[in-house]
Amino acid sequence: MDFLRPASWEEALAAKAEHPTAVPIAGGTDVMVEINFDHRRPAYLLDLNRIGDLAEWEVGERTVRLGASVPYTRIMENLRTELPGLALAAHTVASPQIRNRGGVGGNLGTASPAGDAHPPLLATGGAVEAESVRGVRMIPVDDFYVGVKRNALAPDELIRAVHLPKADGPQQFSKVGTRNAMVIAVCAFALALHPETRTVRTGIGSAAPTPVRARAAEEFLTAALADGGFWESGHPLPPSVARQFAQLAAGACNPIDDVRGSARYRRHAVGVMARRTLGWTWESYRGRAHGSQGGAQCA
């Protein structure tokens, strides 16, 4: 095995071009587990820790450019306002030690259906900035997950950053697991309200071969909110709307039975999380936009 230690982004791209099988290592919280257990014996490890700007982020006018290696801890601490859904999800990842090392670039690299960054990324929308010596490519988040633990990166590409729109409305993330720390999602759900465009977007984790959006649920809710004039009135949503949204979200799942949960349970839980996150975000929207008291956070 060779340990490649590029000191700059350009060097990293050159190394990846020369050795396309080289395995990038950022926080190492996925890669090292595989090496420790001999599940993976790459010929080259490509260390990204020395490339400082991968751990930085920029908050622009409308978007956040999040460096691939910004640790979850930094996201939780610094980007709560701009990226509330991702910040909530980051807080549910593993433990402080893991959150101090792991980041979104690694989560995207692994592309596990259970990765907690994926549902909020799908719900906010945005793009992955992938680069190789051949050039830069912006891959929409929607096109990034192509199969079970497979992503759209070419062998010579590295992720430099993720570009995410700043929140224009409330966002929520919910995850089912057996305890509050150190838990791989049984399933997870993210919801983002986008009052500017009068749309909603969702992301589901661990309930299909890849992270997915609940598109039918999004379309239904977007139409229901528009038809009922809810964005303008800020009225409470009728239970029938929440129920239908939940049902359609559950219907977007294509889960399996495994040790963490049965397919039936996952479908049910996604419906419950859809209804709850809708309740939370809508109350918050009403509170912000219409000065209502906003009820207790309880579904």
């Binding site: 340990f3 919280t29 402080p96």
Partner: protein
């Protein structure tokens, strides 16, 4: 490959390190520092917790080569580290958090202790009067199979209370 880094304030070098080796292995097997424990090698238990450039991490998930040129603190160096940081205590004395673990009876088999000490010390560095929720959160990456955690929580509360008493006593 060769790996050179600062461990507990001293420059350490290890030769013939395999490229896939973890920082934990290098510390324990090549640098003679078995304080950080190896229990799971998959980030689940926290018994290998060390500070890497000040940040608490699982040493089992840091590739040895990633530690090149960086600063590591293990439980062996915790007392010196705390003394220099806090500007109190005598050489050879335990760190306040270590003292508190003993006094509170927070140690049974002791396997989890080094990781918990490093994590708890870092919590108190950030937050000198943590709530119970803060303590639980900060220690949520450290498993203990013996104590049932209550005495560990006691120990952290005790260390915090003593720390606050000390600084108040100094009029700080």
């Amino acid at each position: 490959m060769r790996v050179t880094c600062t461990v507990n304030g001293r420059e350490q070098r290890a030769d013939d390190v395999w490229e896939g080796e973890s920082l934990l292995y290098v510390l324990r097997e090549r640098m003679g520092l078995p304080g950080a424990k190896n229990a799971c090698e998959q980030g689940e238990c926290g018994s290998c917790t060390v500070r890497l450039d000040g940040v608490p991490v699982c040493a089992c998930l840091v590739a040895a080569g990633q530690a090149e040129g960086r600063d590591v603190v293990t439980v062996e160096g915790l007392a010196d580290f705390a003394r220099q940081r806090d500007g109190s205590g005598e050489p050879g004395e335990l760190a306040p958090v270590q003292r508190a673990f003993i006094d509170a009876g927070a140690i049974q088999c002791g396997f989890c202790t080094p990781g918990l000490l490093v994590a708890a010390d870092e919590l108190l560095e950030r937050n000198d009067s943590p709530s119970d929720a803060d303590i639980r959160e900060a220690l949520s990456g450290n498993l203990c199979r013996c104590t049932g955690y209550e005495k560990i929580l006691d120990a952290v509360r005790l260390a915090a209370a003593r720390g606050t008493a000390r600084t108040t006593g100094q009029g700080a």
